[in-house]
């Protein structure tokens, strides 16, 4: 703890390990949030195997694979931005963070085109076209919109978080000796990546 007797230098109590552990604990709540949805998915997939198979054909595998590459690459640039700050390469770290944000935006733009294409085909929650299909397919698209939608919200939160980190790096709040905030933002970003690693085969690669 900071003591009033320290007059020569400011002594600020810091616990980076505790900070990271707090972030991990938060990530476990995210695991439960998405885990519940994966539970729901698994039971319905089991129950309506054929309908899921049929409905998944509507999804664009190439688009899904492309977005996987985009998100995995954004995870790389995020991890590299931490190495850069550890090496005291501030500008490079900021550049890598900005590339991460750009890739996140790119992911969302792809997602937007993907969803609007579905909407044009009349496939959106509650649409006549969708409701005329059988219940397994309705469930598939319900889960598709909820799970990729919730994941999309996490991407938005993540990119805002990283933008705040970039600003902090610029203002020297995040430095070579104090970069735990950047690490925690990175942990969040990698979790978003992991969720997509599972979403991609479960929705786009059903054959």
């Amino acid at each position: 703890m900071s003591s009033t007797e320290h007059t020569s230098a400011t002594h600020v109590y810091r616990d980076d390990v505790g900070s990271r552990m707090g972030m991990w604990l938060f990530l476990f709540t995210e695991l439960i949030l998405f885990g519940g949805m994966f539970l729901l998915y698994s039971v319905y997939r089991f129950q309506y195997a054929d309908a899921f198979h049929l409905a998944a054909k509507e999804l664009n595998t190439i688009m899904g694979a492309f977005n996987t590459v985009v998100l995995l690459t954004s995870s790389l640039t995020m991890a590299l931005s931490i190495v850069a700050i550890q090496r005291n390469q501030k500008t490079l770290s900021m550049l890598l963070q900005m590339i991460t944000i750009f890739l996140a935006l790119f992911f969302l733009v792809n997602k937007y085109f993907e969803w609007t294409a579905k909407f044009h085909h009349g496939i959106y929650p509650g649409s006549e076209e969708l409701l005329s299909k059988d219940s397994g397919e309705i469930l598939f698209f319900g889960l598709y919109y909820v799970m990729t939608g919730l994941h999309g919200i996490h991407v938005i939160v993540g990119l805002v978080l990283i933008a705040v980190m970039t600003r902090m790096t610029r203002k020297d709040i995040i430095t070579k000796d104090n970069y735990v905030r950047l690490e925690n933002a990175g942990l969040y970003w990698h979790l978003v990546d992991i969720i997509w690693i599972f979403l991609f085969p479960l929705f786009y690669l059903i054959t």
């Binding site: 476990f28 595998t61 995995l72 990698h190 599972f198 085969p201």
Partner: protein, 97 residues
Amino acid sequence: MEKHDYYHEHSHSYAIYILVWLALMALTAITVAVAGMDIGRFTVVSALVIAAFKAYLVLTIFMHLRSETKTFVVFVIVAIFFLGISFVLLFSDYSFH
């Protein structure tokens, strides 16, 4: 303390992250290729195994779990274990209906 030194010696290298990224890219290509093949029920199994391996790489390298203390690793294992229990209980309940 040894752990701590390890972290500071090894985490400053760009190479390991780029290697892991290449591995993740390769695994993505493999999972897409395997999904195109007709191997029946093994399709979903192979997709999940590959996804789990990709998640393992992200957890250990990108999320630095490899260089964190054991406490972190135990935490993560417990969290995944309980999620696993949820699946086991759900499907044991489901299969008896």
